[in-house]
Symmetry: C2
Subunit: 443 residues, 2 copies
């Protein structure tokens, strides 16, 4: 059901500039010395990214391209055209993921997969997922430009509904539960209807599952969505893995009292105890060695009136780290602090875990390849965890994965203010290209 994007006549000046630049690059290739290995066309990858904004771009620099929306469908049509231009064979799998594939020279070699997502949150940015998607197309286009054959098949995948819960990549590992199909997403379409809209078949979703060991590996470029690279003036993040997450509901119970008639020494104020707890969680995560984070993001005092000493406080606690065992150690330390607060403030503090997402470490060989690629290109780099979830987390069940981060200005994401500089995007795409070539050469 996918058709070529109507490149001429509808895409305006940006599109024409893009084609002119592509042509210029081709001319340079045919007349100048050919670099070994090649690098991406920095202008083209940024032009592709800019073109994406025609599908749901908002006036403020942001993008609203909700999974399954008309903008999502139009954006994928455009993406399919780019895939074809890069010589990829385009298809949509049963889960509605958009796939572009070129064969390898070795019939026995497993595919090297790269890609990301193109859907956004409501009033989201124009970089999250889209940078990795544009870079994947650019890698395929560069390989085509340079007529480079790979030993492995190459697959470019645009995963569907990443923002709504990584539906597409989870379908590839058989982890979409039947009840999820009835969830109505931000687009107004249920996941079931959305998959059909994309050209998948929700009734045959289970068949979209791939076998573990069916790929040579998966590489994803993504914006950092944090401020670590920018703060350190570093160009490339070599992702060590996607952190695990545990979340708890925390209930602090004291004694509800009249705020006028209850002298300070007679109070068992649940909110004062909760304040101790918020500080303790922050202190533990800040002072323990390591890169764990702990967050109290939600808090409510009951009954919540200005003139009543709170008898109960309901809050959440979230801990993330690359190692689940470290999460356990951080929690144990915070829990010990809670026990001390109970004794000191005559309250009770109860924890109830309600969410868990297991950590997904990247492959050590992939980390080395990404790092070596960045080094060969002369880019500054650092190893770091990914604090956010990504499709690579699902793909890790199928084989080795690697991730490349580029800086996010101010660490801002899921906002129209999300921004990554064109130079950073080109550097990221170059590291992705070189890593793909290194994997192909080495595996």
């Amino acid at each position: 059901m996918l058709t070529d994007p109507p490149i001429e006549g509808r895409q305006g000046l940006g599109r024409r500039d893009f084609l002119k630049r592509s042509a210029a690059a081709a001319v340079a290739l045919s007349t100048g010395p050919r670099p070994q290995p090649p690098t991406v066309d920095a202008s083209r990858v940024n032009a592709i990214l800019a073109d994406f904004r025609r599908f749901g771009g908002t006036g403020d620099g942001g993008t609203t391209r909700l999974a399954y929306s008309d903008e999502d469908l139009a954006g994928r049509d455009y993406a399919a055209g780019l895939m074809r231009r890069a010589g990829l064979e385009v298809s949509t799998d049963l889960a509605g993921n958009l796939i572009g594939r070129r064969p390898g020279t070795d019939p026995a070699a497993l595919p090297i997969i790269t890609g990301s997502h193109m859907d956004s949150v409501p009033s989201g940015g124009s970089y999250d997922g889209q940078v990795g998607s544009a870079a994947a197309f650019e890698v395929a286009l560069t390989l085509a430009d340079h007529d480079i054959a790979l030993r492995h098949p190459l697959e470019v995948i645009i995963f569907q509904n990443e923002e709504g819960g990584k539906t597409g990549s989870r379908a590839l590992v058989g982890r979409v539960y039947p009840f999820e199909l009835d969830i109505v997403t931000a687009s107004g379409h249920s996941i079931r209807d959305g998959i059909a809209r994309l050209g998948g078949d929700p009734a045959r979703l289970a068949e979209a599952r791939r076998d573990p060991g069916s790929m040579a590996g998966f590489l994803e470029l993504h914006i950092e969505q944090g401020a670590l690279l920018e703060a350190g003036g570093i160009e490339i993040g070599v992702v060590e893995g996607i952190v695990g997450i545990r979340r708890w509901n925390v209930t602090v119970r004291g004694a509800q009292n009249h705020a006028g008639t209850t002298p300070m020494p007679l109070r068992r104020d649940a909110l004062v105890a909760a304040a101790d707890f918020v500080r303790a969680a922050n202190e533990v995560a800040t002072t323990m060695p390591g890169r764990q984070v702990a967050t109290v993001g939600r808090i409510e005092a009951v009954p919540g009136a200005p003139n009543v000493v709170p008898g109960e406080v309901r809050a959440t606690l979230e801990i993330r780290d690359l190692a689940m065992t470290k999460i356990d150690r951080v929690f144990a330390e915070i829990e010990a602090r809670a026990r001390a607060i109970e004794a000191g403030r005559e309250v009770t503090v109860a924890f109830e875990q309600f969410y868990e997402s297991l950590a997904a470490p990247t492959d050590s060989r992939f980390r080395d390849i990404v790092e070596a690629s960045a080094a060969a290109l002369g880019y500054s780099r650092t190893r770091m965890p990914s604090g956010a979830g990504h499709d690579a987390q699902s793909m890790a069940e199928l084989g080795p994965v690697g991730m490349i981060f580029v800086p996010s200005r101010g660490g801002i994401s899921h906002s129209p203010d999300e921004y990554t500089a064109p130079g950073d995007i080109a550097r990221g795409a170059n590291v992705l290209l070189r890593s793909v070539l290194a994997l192909d050469g080495g595996g």
Copy 2:
């Protein structure tokens, strides 16, 4: 529109017991030695209080007698009957307050006023306001039993809609704003309709206003609604005044960030800063000399998701003290702590005052009289502020006021668990009676 309560036939065994006890008391009076000065009938005042529960009493020991409700009207009818039984002339003023009056022997003497309220909050207790009302009736009944004439006129007032904002007592000092009449109360009746239902005239509400200096004084017995007396094993609270109140909206602003991708050292977490603030406010109020209280009763983190570092926290701060200048000093100290938090956590803390209720000190002579009365009766007593608001606060604009507190079990109020022991109620009524006699003798 008030009628005698149908004492016989409708009031059941409790009522018959009450009459039997009253008769027994009368017999005791006529045959035994007459005490000088007299004391109240401990059984009778508790029986009156128990009788109140026939009007809105709930099965769990509590009472729902919302102002202007049918239960309120029926309770007032019963109260009017008690007033008549005590030889008081019953009327309803233009504001709907129920008034029982007996003349004094000195035509020039101003009235001594006592009373409280009989309305309750929804699912409220059976003591708040009702103890002071029952005691006022008991004082009048005891004076009648003993045929004691007072030099001053005596007025017993049941103020209407205390729980909904002290409407009745504020009308006596001309402080009910026209817009308030349209407020729909918990009973479902607007204040305008409610006043009419009680026999007042909302159109002539302004005429309900009394002149400052038009009374010799006002005395109110009330349950403490705090745990100070119980905790100290003290029988009588000599109230030094009703505390003033100031309330602020407090807004802490930091930086909203992704809880996964923002390392601890790069955070400007508004909730961690707000936790500092909650603790600081508590510490300042607890450690400064005096009996001020400070409460953060409401708190909300924005956006309030488990996986987002809060960028903003909205909370309330309330400070109460007998002296408004002390409230200012406590606030200044808390504000200084907020400035230090701003610097330390890279956040801003903004305060916006949205409520003020001025402190109403009791009259020093009244305090001495209440204390001397308790001492003469052999009751333990202490001077203390009233942390809650009362009708006495309005009455203080008309002349000197005094208040007597009796213990509240566990400090619990506005709840079916509200409880004051019969012995404490009798002691309170005795202090009220003796104080009225002392005021009459001395003024």
